[in-house]
Structures are given as C-alpha cells and as structure tokens.
C-alpha cells in the first residue's frame, strides 16, 4: 500500500481478466445519435422520483452535498499472437456509487444492483459521514446539456462485430513481418470500451454521457545474432469503431518496427547530471510528473505538495504556459462532463510562467472558494472522484529544436518513454526513456536506450531554458495511476531544453 507515489504507466489498456464482447449490447442496444436523458434513465431502470427519494436518504444526516453516479461499461479485447487473431475477451461492469460530502469528509458506498432498495441501503451507508439533523431540501431537477460533445461516435463499438475488427490486427502483423527480416514475434492488441453514465446531485443537476474509447497496440520482437529486442507502438482515442483505419494500421506497424530496430545500435550513456533536450510529443510526461500531479488540488488542500504555497507565484520562465484540457476532440483524456457533473473545460495551470490554477474536484474547489475545474474523475462507480489530469500540455514557444540540440556540448535527446512517477512532497519525479540519442558537440550521435531520468519538479521547471514551436500531442495509451485508481490521460509538448537532469547510466 504505497500512499506517497503516483504511477504513470503506458500500458496496453485493459487489466487481466477484463475484456471481450460480441457484436451486441447485453442490455438495450441503441445508436449513439439517439441517446437522450430519458433513454439513459430507462437504461438504468430508474425514474426522476426514485432519484429524489434516494437523494433524500443520502442527505438525511445533514450532508452538505451528495451525488449518485450510474455506470454501465462494456470492455472488449481482441489479441493476435503467433500470427493469428486467436483470443478475445469482454467484460461488463454495471453499478451505482453514492457519495455524501460533509465539509472535506466523504462517505461512499456502491452497489451492483441498481434497485431502489439497494440504492437506499448504499445511501444510508454513505450518509453516515454526517451526523447532524435532516438535510433534505426540496429539489428542482435540472438537466444540464453539454456545450459540445467532444467525442461524437459514428459507429458504436457495440454494433461492431469481432469479424469487422479482426482484419486490422492481421494486417498489422503482416506489415510488421514484411518490413524487417529480424522480426521473430508480433503481438497485436485492440481494445474498446463504451460507458453509459448517468449523474445526479443534490443541487438537482442531472446529466448523462456516452464515452467511447478505442486502442490499438503492437509489440514487435526482433532477433539479431542472438540479441533480442522489443519495441511497441500504440494509439488511443475517444472514438467509435471508425477509429480503425488502414492509415492507423500503417502508422502503428511502421512505428513498432522502427522503435525495435533502433534498439540494436543503442547504448547506455554515461550517467550523471547533464542537459536534456526533450523531443515534441511524449515528452509531455515531464509536465505530467514534474508538475501536473503536484498541482492536483487534493495534495495542496492537504498541504502535502511541494507547490502548496506557490499559487499566483512565478514558477518558471514567462515564455511558458501549461494547460490541462478536457476539450480536445476525440482525445483520450477528454471529458464532456467529469465524474461529478462539472462540464469539461480547459485550465491554464501555468500562464506566462505564473502558477495560475490548481486542478480541482468539488471538495478542493469548495475548500479554496473557487469553481471546480472539471478534473473530478474516477476509475469507475467503485471509486470516489479525485482531482485528475486530462490532456496536459505546454504551449508553443519561439525556439527551434535544432538550435537546442546545437547548443548542447554533451547531453541527450529523448522522445520515447514508457512510464514515469513522482513523489508529491519531495517533488522528485522520474521517467523511463525507451530510446533517444546522445548529443555530442551539438549533434545527435549514437542512439541510447533503457535509462531512467530523475529530477526535482520545481527545479526542472525553472531549468527549462528553451521552448520550441513544434508542439505535438502524444496519442498513445497513457494511463495514470493515483490512489489505486487508473484514468486515461494524454500529454503533449513542444521540444524543450532542460539545462540539468540526472540521467541514469554507466560509470565504468
């Protein structure tokens, strides 16, 4: 039970034991275009009056606020192994979570049986967090529509059969083998997920969302003169089955082969402190780890973040602005509405070098007397929402990547990462570099691989000395872990020069 660390993993998506569903939904099937609030209420077999009744129980001990979160998620996975698409799995998760808040305190219970009786039982457990007198108030139910749907679906995953998905996996396998004779094994995995969400809170807010997700990943194993190496490529979007295209197949296939082939010539650098040029795209992991987590307001509310006293203060060069954004169309981290009924939005964490806003859920927003920022997210109805990132990225600067590289006498260039982590209080963060290059006398020379980089958040932020104009979002299968909950996220970045980080390596 490690309470002090946040893991940021780039994984294949689904957990063992989860996955596969056939062509049709288990419950009522529908076309996303027709999704109405009434349809979703019917789907969960609940009426507005029943919601009122359960809410009254949740608030009966004098809670300040309560919400009811219904979820029905269908996950599927299809796997190609040893040249054939030969396993499938699927999982259905269905239930409702009831939360009561009193001050900063939370009572929470969930049930897999969405009957009024079971919901009342859960509401009574959650209500125990408060111990005052009745808090029932008359309530007008108010359906809150989205400003915009950031992930409109053309073909729902539920209507897409295994036989329609299968050829894409087979094509990736065949393309990868055709590119390089050293390829010995290929594993391709395609996952999709569809969630129906219904949300109701004690302010009378009633919302629903339909959340699609598709991922495609390929792992390539190559052998050369007895040496084995592996490489991976993956993409993930909040999209329906239109996500699967021949272009995507080609991109993933080429990237997996390229990443793997590079490893044979790569070395470990000499370790120690040195300048690091972080290439555009996946280097956004630096933002996620070095500052993103430390700006999540729960850590600051509890005064345990190294940035706890820094709101409104200058934390880096004034050319730097960092955002956390839930509104990028089809992005893996986007949310029409977060998991506590707050509309998706775009939040400047750092604006012109000044710490502008923490990332808030309802509890922290109330604590700080500000509006929530739409960052209250949860893994499923089994968890309470907490402040989480969405798509975290840095805006473009004016420098050029080649000038950054040219300015470094001895250092490294990195652009491909597998995972990262941070210690919120000490500020020490790390990320693992799958591949990159040495920089010697201003030029990229030998490829490097498999090294960890470690730094300190506030220091690293102030050590960013150049920001390029080549911003790129990394649309890989990034999954962020915090307090035992996984959340889909993304990160992006223009190339930056960090003047000093500690690079793992050999000292021989």
């Amino acid at each position: 039970m490690n309470c002090s660390r946040r893991a940021f993993l780039k994984t294949g998506g689904m957990l063992a034991g989860a996955a596969l569903i056939p062509g049709a939904a288990l419950l009522e099937s529908f076309s996303p275009k027709e999704l109405t609030l009434q349809w979703v209420l019917d789907h969960f077999k609940v009426t507005e009056n029943e919601l009122r009744k359960v809410m009254a129980i949740a608030m009966e001990n004098g809670g300040d606020y309560a919400d009811i979160f219904f979820e029905h998620t269908l996950d599927n996975m299809l796997v190609l192994r040893d040249g054939k698409v030969n396993s499938t799995s699927s999982n259905i998760d269905f239930g409702v979570g009831i939360r009561v808040i009193k001050g900063d305190q939370t009572g929470y219970a969930y049930t897999e049986n969405v009957t009024v009786l079971d919901m009342i039982k859960a509401a009574r457990i959650a209500a125990k967090i408060a111990n005052g007198i009745t808090g029932v108030k008359s309530m007008n139910i108010n359906e809150v529509p989205f400003k915009k749907n950031y992930y409109n679906v053309i073909s729902s995953w539920e209507e897409t059969e295994v036989k329609a998905k299968k050829p894409y996996l087979q094509k990736i396998n065949d393309r990868i083998f055709s590119f390089d004779k050293r390829v010995s094994r290929v594993i391709v995995s395609q996952t999709d997920s569809t969630s129906y969400i219904l949300f109701f809170n004690s302010d009378g807010v009633l919302m629903h969302d339909y959340r699609p997700m598709g991922t495609l990943s390929a792992t390539c194993i190559m052998e050369q003169k007895g040496q084995i190496e592996n490489g991976r490529s993956a993409r993930a979007y909040r999209m329906g089955a239109e996500f699967l295209t021949d272009d995507l197949v080609e991109t993933v296939s080429q990237e997996a082969v390229k990443q793997t082939a590079l490893m044979f010539d790569a070395i470990k650098p000499k370790g120690g402190e040195m300048p690091v040029v972080m290439g555009a795209g996946g280097s956004g992991i630096l933002l996620h780890e070095a500052i993103g987590h430390a700006f999540e307001a729960d850590f600051n509310r509890k005064n345990t973040s190294i940035f706890s006293d820094k709101l409104g203060k200058k934390v880096c060069d004034s050319s730097i602005s960092v955002l956390d954004d839930g509104t990028i169309p089809f992005n893996r981290g986007s949310v029409n509405v977060d998991d506590e009924g707050v509309l998706g939005q775009k939040t400047y964490i750092v604006k012109d070098g000044v710490l502008n806003s923490y990332l808030h859920d309802r509890i922290s927003a109330k604590h700080y007397g500000v509006a929530p920022t739409g960052n209250g997210r949860r893994q499923s109805f089994r968890f309470t929402p907490i402040p989480r990132m969405r798509a975290t990225y840095m805006e473009n600067g004016n420098a050029h990547e080649e000038d950054m590289i040219a300015s470094v006498k001895r250092g490294i260039f990195v652009d491909n990462f597998t995972n990262g982590q941070v210690q919120i209080g000490a500020g020490d963060f790390t990320f693992f570099v799958k591949s990159g290059y040495l920089i010697e006398d201003g030029k990229l020379t030998r490829p490097i691989k498999d090294i960890n980089i470690i730094g300190n958040g506030p220091k690293a932020l102030s050590d960013i000395t150049m920001v390029a104009n080549n911003y790129k979002m990394d649309n890989g299968t990034w999954t962020c872990g915090k307090d035992g909950q996984s959340c889909p996220v993304t990160c992006g970045m223009p190339s930056v020069l960090v003047s000093k980080l500690t690079v793992g390596g050999e000292n021989a």
Partner: protein
Amino acid sequence: MIKKEQKELARWAMQYALKKGCQECRVGIFSGSESSFEVRDTQLDKLQQAEENQMVLYLFVDGRYGAISTNRMDRRELEKFIADGVTSVRFLAEDPARKLPDPSLYFSGSEASLELYDPKFQSVSADEKLKLAKSAATEIYGSDSRIISVSSAYGDTENFAYIVASNGFEGESATSSFGVSVSVSVKGDGDARPESYWYDESLTWEGLQKQGVGKKALERALRKMGQSKIQSGKYQMLVENMAVRTLLSPLISAINGSSIQQKNSFLLDKIGQKVVADKITLVDNPLLPKALGAKCFDREGIATKKRNVFEHGVLQTYFIDSYIANKLNVEPTTGSPSVLYFDKGNYSQQELIGKMLKGILVTGFNGGNCNSSTGNFSYGIEGFLIENGELKQPISEMNITGDMLTLWSNLAEIGNNPLKSSSWQLPTLLFDSVDFSGL
C-alpha cells in the same frame, strides 16, 4: 462464502455454454466485500463500504477460445451474454493449444487447511475499525512540530471464489485480509515536504499490528530530512526488504511462460544453468499456511506445489500455465508464483549496514523500468549513504543502472528479515558493485 445458489448459477452457466456450442468450459464466481476508513489529521476523512460479485466464463469453441465476464447475474441476461460470447469466439482463428488442463493435474481436497480466512471477519465492528484507523494517527499526531499532515487508513476485504470446469474440476477458496497504513508529511528544507509511510497487512484481525505503524511512518519521514544526491560511481547497495520486490519482479517476469514462448526473455533456454549468485535459493511455496498469497490451486484448478525457482543460483523452473505448456509441448507448472521467499539469511539489516565500508542503503525506488528482452534496467532511488558501517546522509534524486543477471550475480548477502506482510516474503539484500548516477 459462496452461496449455494451462486454455485448453482455457475453450474447452470457452464451447462448453458456447452449447450450453445462450447466443447469445454470453465466458470468462476467471485464475490467479496470491503470496508475502509480513512483518517486525516485524526478526523474521519472518508468511509467506504461495498460488496461485489463477478462471473467469468472461459469458452472453448471448435478449437477457438475467448473469455467473458460480467457482474450482472440475471439468468436471462446471462443467456444472451453467453450466446453472444460463443458467437464472437467462432469468428477467431483456431488455436489447438487452447483446452482445459488434464484432469489428473486438478486439485482435489479442501483449501481450508491453509487457514486463509479469518472466521472473525464479520464480527469486527465498524467502531473497532475506525478506532484502529484513528489510533494509528493519534500515536504521532502533534508529537513533532515538523509534522504537516498525517493520513491513516484501515481497510479489510474478504474474497470468495468458486471454480467449476466441464472436465471435472470443482474448487472453492476463501481469503480475508486486514490492513492498516499511515503516511506522514513533514516540513523539510525549503519547499520540500518529505513524506513516508508504513503499513501492516494480515490475513487475521488478531495478526494485524495495532500499534507502532504511525511511529514507524514518522520515523521514516523524519530521517529523510536534508536529502541530497552524491557523486556518481559504483557502490555496494543494500536494498531494504520493503523495496526488494522491484528488483525481483523482472526476474520473475523473465521466467513467465508467456515471455519464454514469445522468445522475449533474458532467461530463455537457461533452465539448469547457473544464472545468479550461489547464495540464491528462491522458493515458491503456495502451500504455506496462513501466508498472504497462499493457495491450493491456481486459476485453472491445477494443484499447486512447493518448488525451488533458483537453487544455489541455478534456474530450476519456468511458470507455465496449460496454454503455454501446450504451445511449448511441456508439462504445465503453474501460471505464476504465489508465496516467494529466499533461504533464510544470517544477518539483520543493522548487521549488514555494519559490514559496509562505503555504500548506499536503498529504502525506496522512484520509477524506472527493466527491458524484458535484455534485462537492462534503470531505476530512481532514495535512501542513505553508508560509511564505516553507519548511515551518514539521506540521499535522493539518483538512479541505478545495469542489467539484471549481473546485478543478481553480484548478490553478496541475504538478510534474515523477510517481509511477512506481503506474499513475496523478501528480506534485505546486499549487492556488490552497482552503478549509481547522481552528481
């Protein structure tokens, strides 16, 4: 416990799958409950309570395979779910290696002999649980002016499983666990707020440590004050028992049957060869009574056995489930380890520190990874500089880098302090000549 009607439902689902076209089928029913109490600065911060159920079906259809799972237990819905699942599996390519295990490998008997479930589980009151969560925090709250925040938690779970397979397996298991944890943040140098934690976990309420968890967490946080990095170089490395798992995991992944079958392992074709230091005899003993992670049968129903993973540095086994066994044309062992421990070492952690002239005690890892093909690794670390047998200075923001087989070949000593609050009961370990990157 799994109720009689749940067992009937599992058997019904199996029969229904067979009727819909499966030649073989295995069904698992899993149910459990959990409760937790989180306390911040001695006040209740969050309480949570829930029960859950899941059914998993493994479908073997015309030489093809798929798995489906759901928490919807309504028979009418299950009928559609199973029928659709069978239809989906029929779209796949054939895979002759997919079949149920040979029935002669199945466990028959009762798992109760391992004593993995505390019969008192339901009788511990919510008040007692909350009291324990609070007392773990109050034992340190306000005791030191440098404390910024103390979070403590009590949590328990009970898990029940019932597995039935169409070629004759039927097995049942019950486990309980109780845990208490405390994390502490303290005011450090500048803006830094060093934090640390401690926890205990036990299968029984009686076995759970009720006092001292908070004190240990505070001690671990305070000793981090003034962390800094030191000169890069090769040092002896002592790894605390809490942290050893990070270094052992890549070795265990490398002998996982799937990695071997995919030829993606640095321990490929190494059975019977000496690959790590002589001192290493690592045992997997799933049948250790009252141990976290113990089990009589694995998820396929195959009876577990005690086996040596490494014996005096020589690799003895791979972890092979029935699918991989069929692919490789070998006998299955079991898909994954259960309870791992080293042959007991001779020295306490303090004695090992005392033996070191200059080296680094690693108390925790911060990120990093290991290349599963080559065994090349690099991890962030924190801990202490040791000089002349004493802790000299807390360190952080450094990396260790190397390759797994060289690291484990350089194992110098094994501690006598296996971590009993984990299924991998690993002790403190001393390694020679490890590359540290810092200044």
